[in-house]
Protein backbone atom coordinates (compact mmCIF):
# COMPACT_ATOMS: atom_id res chain seq x y z
CA UNK A 1 0.00 0.00 0.00
CA UNK A 2 1.70 3.23 -1.04
CA UNK A 3 1.79 6.34 1.14
CA UNK A 4 -0.82 8.22 -0.93
CA UNK A 5 -3.59 5.74 -0.25
CA UNK A 6 -2.51 5.55 3.40
CA UNK A 7 -2.87 9.32 3.64
CA UNK A 8 -6.27 9.14 1.98
CA UNK A 9 -7.46 6.53 4.45
CA UNK A 10 -6.13 8.57 7.36
CA UNK A 11 -7.93 11.72 6.16
CA UNK A 12 -11.19 9.80 5.75
CA UNK A 13 -10.71 8.41 9.25
CA UNK A 14 -10.27 11.95 10.59
CA UNK A 15 -13.47 13.19 8.96
CA UNK A 16 -15.40 10.16 10.12
CA UNK A 17 -14.08 10.50 13.65
CA UNK A 18 -15.17 14.09 13.96
CA UNK A 19 -18.64 13.63 12.57
CA UNK A 20 -20.25 12.26 15.69
CA UNK A 21 -18.44 14.21 18.38
CA UNK A 22 -16.90 17.59 18.82
CA UNK A 23 -13.23 18.36 18.44
CA UNK A 24 -12.55 17.47 22.06
CA UNK A 25 -9.72 15.05 21.47
CA UNK A 26 -7.30 17.96 21.35
CA UNK A 27 -8.16 18.73 24.95
CA UNK A 28 -7.98 15.31 26.60
CA UNK A 29 -4.70 16.16 28.32
CA UNK A 30 -6.29 19.37 29.59
CA UNK A 31 -9.21 17.51 31.21
CA UNK A 32 -6.84 14.98 32.75
CA UNK A 33 -4.68 17.80 34.14
CA UNK A 34 -7.77 19.58 35.51
CA UNK A 35 -9.05 16.47 37.27
CA UNK A 36 -5.67 15.58 38.79
CA UNK A 37 -4.93 19.14 39.93
CA UNK A 38 -8.35 19.36 41.59
CA UNK A 39 -7.98 15.96 43.24
CA UNK A 40 -4.56 16.53 44.84
CA UNK A 41 -5.47 19.42 47.23
CA UNK A 42 -8.75 17.74 48.17
CA UNK A 43 -6.84 14.54 48.96
CA UNK A 44 -4.22 16.47 50.96
CA UNK A 45 -6.82 18.18 53.12
CA UNK A 46 -8.80 14.99 53.64
CA UNK A 47 -5.81 12.90 54.68
CA UNK A 48 -4.45 15.49 57.10
CA UNK A 49 -7.93 16.09 58.46
CA UNK A 50 -8.26 12.41 59.24
CA UNK A 51 -4.74 11.68 60.48
CA UNK A 52 -3.75 14.84 62.40
CA UNK A 53 -4.48 15.04 66.16
CA UNK A 54 -6.52 18.05 67.28
CA UNK A 55 -5.71 19.62 70.64
CA UNK A 56 -6.89 23.19 71.01
CA UNK A 57 -5.41 25.43 73.68
CA UNK A 58 -5.65 29.23 73.81
CA UNK A 59 -2.08 29.87 72.75
CA UNK A 60 -2.46 27.78 69.60
CA UNK A 61 -5.60 29.66 68.62
CA UNK A 62 -4.15 33.17 68.89
CA UNK A 63 -2.98 34.87 65.70
CA UNK A 64 0.67 34.92 64.66
CA UNK A 65 2.59 38.20 64.84
CA UNK A 66 6.25 37.29 64.22
CA UNK A 67 6.74 35.73 67.64
CA UNK A 68 5.65 38.66 69.82
CA UNK A 69 2.38 39.02 71.69
CA UNK A 70 -0.31 40.14 69.18
CA UNK A 71 -1.40 43.72 69.85
CA UNK A 72 -4.58 45.22 68.48
CA UNK A 73 -7.22 43.78 66.22
CA UNK A 74 -6.44 41.67 63.17
CA UNK A 75 -9.08 43.34 60.98
CA UNK A 76 -8.21 46.54 59.08
CA UNK A 77 -10.44 48.95 57.24
CA UNK A 78 -10.38 48.28 53.52
CA UNK A 79 -8.93 51.32 51.77
CA UNK A 80 -10.27 52.87 48.61
CA UNK A 81 -6.95 52.89 46.78
CA UNK A 82 -7.15 49.09 46.41
CA UNK A 83 -10.39 49.55 44.52
CA UNK A 84 -8.92 52.31 42.30
CA UNK A 85 -6.09 50.02 41.25
CA UNK A 86 -8.46 47.16 40.48
CA UNK A 87 -10.60 49.52 38.38
CA UNK A 88 -7.73 50.82 36.27
CA UNK A 89 -6.50 47.23 35.93
CA UNK A 90 -9.85 46.03 34.56
CA UNK A 91 -10.01 48.65 31.83
CA UNK A 92 -6.51 47.97 30.57
CA UNK A 93 -7.02 44.22 30.86
CA UNK A 94 -10.06 44.41 28.54
CA UNK A 95 -7.95 46.46 26.13
CA UNK A 96 -5.28 43.75 26.17
CA UNK A 97 -7.82 41.01 25.47
CA UNK A 98 -8.92 42.97 22.41
CA UNK A 99 -5.33 43.21 21.26
CA UNK A 100 -4.81 39.41 21.34
CA UNK A 101 -6.82 38.49 18.20
CA UNK A 102 -5.32 41.44 16.34
CA UNK A 103 -1.85 40.15 17.21
CA UNK A 104 -2.74 36.61 16.09
CA UNK A 105 -3.83 37.80 12.64
CA UNK A 106 -1.18 40.49 12.22
CA UNK A 107 0.76 38.75 9.49
CA UNK A 108 -2.18 38.34 7.11
CA UNK A 109 -3.52 41.85 7.56
CA UNK A 110 -1.81 44.92 6.18
CA UNK A 111 -0.71 48.39 7.24
CA UNK A 112 -4.24 49.96 7.49
CA UNK A 113 -5.13 47.51 10.27
CA UNK A 114 -1.92 48.45 12.07
CA UNK A 115 -3.03 52.09 11.98
CA UNK A 116 -6.48 51.14 13.33
CA UNK A 117 -4.93 49.29 16.27
CA UNK A 118 -2.64 52.27 16.82
CA UNK A 119 -5.68 54.56 17.08
CA UNK A 120 -7.27 52.07 19.53
CA UNK A 121 -4.22 52.11 21.79
CA UNK A 122 -3.85 55.89 21.46
CA UNK A 123 -7.38 56.56 22.73
CA UNK A 124 -6.67 54.36 25.72
CA UNK A 125 -3.34 56.09 26.37
CA UNK A 126 -5.37 59.30 26.72
CA UNK A 127 -7.39 57.48 29.40
CA UNK A 128 -4.27 56.32 31.20
CA UNK A 129 -2.85 59.86 31.25
CA UNK A 130 -6.15 61.05 32.75
CA UNK A 131 -5.97 58.37 35.45
CA UNK A 132 -2.35 59.34 36.16
CA UNK A 133 -3.07 63.05 36.47
CA UNK A 134 -6.16 62.54 38.62
CA UNK A 135 -4.19 60.59 41.19
CA UNK A 136 -5.85 57.21 40.70
CA UNK A 137 -2.40 55.61 40.58
CA UNK A 138 -1.10 57.07 43.85
CA UNK A 139 -0.11 54.53 46.43
CA UNK A 140 0.64 56.74 49.43
Amino acid sequence: MNSRSKRLIRSIFHIHRSSSMFLLYEYDIFWAFLIISSAIPILAFLISGVLAPVKKDPEKLSSYESGIEPMGDAWLQFRIRYYMFALVFVVFYVETVFLYPWAMSFDVLGVPVFIEAFIFVLILIVGSVYAWRKGALEWS
Binding site: V97, E116, G127
Partner: protein, 165 residues
Protein backbone atom coordinates in the same frame (compact mmCIF):
# COMPACT_ATOMS: atom_id res chain seq x y z
CA UNK B 1 -7.90 9.32 25.45
CA UNK B 2 -10.54 9.74 22.79
CA UNK B 3 -13.66 11.50 24.02
CA UNK B 4 -16.78 9.93 22.52
CA UNK B 5 -20.35 11.15 22.97
CA UNK B 6 -21.13 9.82 26.49
CA UNK B 7 -18.13 11.54 28.06
CA UNK B 8 -19.14 14.78 26.38
CA UNK B 9 -22.65 14.38 27.82
CA UNK B 10 -21.24 13.56 31.24
CA UNK B 11 -19.12 16.71 31.17
CA UNK B 12 -22.19 18.73 30.15
CA UNK B 13 -24.23 17.39 33.08
CA UNK B 14 -21.34 17.87 35.51
CA UNK B 15 -20.73 21.46 34.47
CA UNK B 16 -24.44 22.21 34.41
CA UNK B 17 -24.91 20.96 37.95
CA UNK B 18 -21.88 22.97 39.06
CA UNK B 19 -23.44 26.01 37.42
CA UNK B 20 -26.78 25.52 39.15
CA UNK B 21 -25.16 24.89 42.54
CA UNK B 22 -23.04 28.00 42.13
CA UNK B 23 -26.06 30.06 41.20
CA UNK B 24 -27.98 28.81 44.23
CA UNK B 25 -24.93 29.58 46.35
CA UNK B 26 -24.81 33.17 45.12
CA UNK B 27 -28.42 33.75 46.10
CA UNK B 28 -28.76 31.70 49.27
CA UNK B 29 -25.45 32.06 51.13
CA UNK B 30 -25.57 34.61 53.93
CA UNK B 31 -21.91 35.70 53.94
CA UNK B 32 -21.48 38.00 50.88
CA UNK B 33 -17.86 36.95 50.38
CA UNK B 34 -18.97 33.32 50.03
CA UNK B 35 -21.53 34.33 47.45
CA UNK B 36 -18.91 36.33 45.53
CA UNK B 37 -16.68 33.23 45.37
CA UNK B 38 -19.67 31.18 44.30
CA UNK B 39 -20.15 33.63 41.44
CA UNK B 40 -16.54 32.89 40.48
CA UNK B 41 -17.44 29.20 40.32
CA UNK B 42 -20.37 29.98 38.00
CA UNK B 43 -18.13 31.97 35.64
CA UNK B 44 -15.50 29.19 35.55
CA UNK B 45 -18.21 26.66 34.66
CA UNK B 46 -19.39 28.89 31.83
CA UNK B 47 -15.82 29.08 30.56
CA UNK B 48 -15.56 25.28 30.52
CA UNK B 49 -18.83 25.15 28.60
CA UNK B 50 -17.22 27.31 25.94
CA UNK B 51 -14.37 24.80 25.67
CA UNK B 52 -16.91 22.02 25.16
CA UNK B 53 -18.40 24.06 22.32
CA UNK B 54 -15.07 24.45 20.48
CA UNK B 55 -14.69 28.18 21.12
CA UNK B 56 -11.32 28.25 22.79
CA UNK B 57 -10.64 31.96 22.48
CA UNK B 58 -13.97 32.89 24.05
CA UNK B 59 -13.29 30.45 26.89
CA UNK B 60 -9.92 32.06 27.59
CA UNK B 61 -11.40 35.57 27.29
CA UNK B 62 -14.19 34.58 29.68
CA UNK B 63 -11.67 33.35 32.25
CA UNK B 64 -9.48 36.40 31.86
CA UNK B 65 -12.15 39.09 31.88
CA UNK B 66 -15.00 37.70 33.94
CA UNK B 67 -13.17 35.68 36.58
CA UNK B 68 -9.92 37.63 36.61
CA UNK B 69 -11.23 41.17 36.45
CA UNK B 70 -14.96 41.48 37.04
CA UNK B 71 -15.19 38.93 39.85
CA UNK B 72 -12.19 40.56 41.55
CA UNK B 73 -13.93 43.95 41.32
CA UNK B 74 -17.09 42.45 42.83
CA UNK B 75 -15.00 40.97 45.66
CA UNK B 76 -13.42 44.36 46.32
CA UNK B 77 -16.84 45.99 46.39
CA UNK B 78 -18.05 43.31 48.83
CA UNK B 79 -15.06 43.97 51.10
CA UNK B 80 -16.28 47.51 51.69
CA UNK B 81 -19.31 46.21 53.52
CA UNK B 82 -19.23 45.91 57.29
CA UNK B 83 -19.22 42.46 58.80
CA UNK B 84 -22.00 43.12 61.27
CA UNK B 85 -24.60 43.93 58.65
CA UNK B 86 -25.28 40.35 57.57
CA UNK B 87 -28.80 39.02 57.37
CA UNK B 88 -30.12 38.39 60.84
CA UNK B 89 -33.65 37.43 59.88
CA UNK B 90 -33.18 35.23 56.88
CA UNK B 91 -36.69 34.85 55.52
CA UNK B 92 -36.44 32.48 52.57
CA UNK B 93 -39.97 32.47 51.16
CA UNK B 94 -40.91 36.07 50.56
CA UNK B 95 -43.21 36.99 47.67
CA UNK B 96 -40.38 38.41 45.59
CA UNK B 97 -38.27 35.27 46.06
CA UNK B 98 -41.13 33.00 45.07
CA UNK B 99 -42.05 35.04 42.01
CA UNK B 100 -38.44 35.25 40.80
CA UNK B 101 -37.86 31.53 41.23
CA UNK B 102 -41.08 30.75 39.32
CA UNK B 103 -40.11 33.03 36.46
CA UNK B 104 -36.53 31.82 36.25
CA UNK B 105 -37.30 28.12 36.23
CA UNK B 106 -40.33 28.06 33.95
CA UNK B 107 -39.73 30.49 31.09
CA UNK B 108 -36.98 28.87 29.03
CA UNK B 109 -38.18 25.29 28.68
CA UNK B 110 -39.53 25.80 25.13
CA UNK B 111 -36.18 27.02 23.88
CA UNK B 112 -34.42 24.06 25.47
CA UNK B 113 -36.83 21.43 24.11
CA UNK B 114 -36.79 22.79 20.56
CA UNK B 115 -32.98 22.81 20.32
CA UNK B 116 -31.66 19.97 18.16
CA UNK B 117 -28.09 18.86 17.76
CA UNK B 118 -26.90 19.31 14.21
CA UNK B 119 -25.32 16.34 12.45
CA UNK B 120 -22.87 18.33 10.38
CA UNK B 121 -19.32 17.21 9.95
CA UNK B 122 -17.01 19.44 11.95
CA UNK B 123 -13.53 19.65 10.52
CA UNK B 124 -10.53 21.54 11.66
CA UNK B 125 -10.09 24.92 9.99
CA UNK B 126 -6.89 26.06 8.38
CA UNK B 127 -7.00 29.33 10.31
CA UNK B 128 -7.46 29.04 14.07
CA UNK B 129 -10.30 30.59 16.05
CA UNK B 130 -8.51 33.63 17.35
CA UNK B 131 -7.02 34.46 13.96
CA UNK B 132 -10.50 34.43 12.43
CA UNK B 133 -11.79 36.66 15.19
CA UNK B 134 -8.88 39.03 14.61
CA UNK B 135 -9.50 39.19 10.87
CA UNK B 136 -13.22 39.88 11.29
CA UNK B 137 -12.58 42.45 14.02
CA UNK B 138 -10.13 44.36 11.85
CA UNK B 139 -11.98 44.30 8.54
CA UNK B 140 -15.74 43.84 8.93
CA UNK B 141 -16.12 45.28 12.39
CA UNK B 142 -13.40 47.89 12.57
CA UNK B 143 -15.80 50.73 13.43
CA UNK B 144 -17.20 48.90 16.51
CA UNK B 145 -13.56 48.17 17.38
CA UNK B 146 -12.82 51.89 17.58
CA UNK B 147 -16.07 52.54 19.43
CA UNK B 148 -15.01 49.95 22.02
CA UNK B 149 -11.95 52.03 22.81
CA UNK B 150 -14.16 55.09 23.29
CA UNK B 151 -16.51 53.13 25.55
CA UNK B 152 -13.56 51.92 27.64
CA UNK B 153 -12.27 55.49 27.91
CA UNK B 154 -15.66 56.76 29.04
CA UNK B 155 -15.98 53.93 31.59
CA UNK B 156 -12.51 54.67 32.98
CA UNK B 157 -13.13 58.41 33.32
CA UNK B 158 -16.60 57.93 34.79
CA UNK B 159 -15.51 55.33 37.33
CA UNK B 160 -12.54 57.39 38.49
CA UNK B 161 -14.69 60.51 38.79
CA UNK B 162 -17.29 58.64 40.86
CA UNK B 163 -14.86 56.73 43.07
CA UNK B 164 -12.83 59.77 44.02
CA UNK B 165 -15.66 61.28 46.04
Amino acid sequence: MDLPGPIHDFLLVFLGSGLILGGLGVVLLTNPIYSAFSLGLVLVCISLFYILSNSHFVAAAQLLIYVGAINVLILFAVMFMNGSEYYKDFNLWTIGNGLTSLVCTNTSWYGVIWTTRSNQIIEQDLISNSQQIGIHLATDFFLPFEFISIILLVALIGAIAVARQ
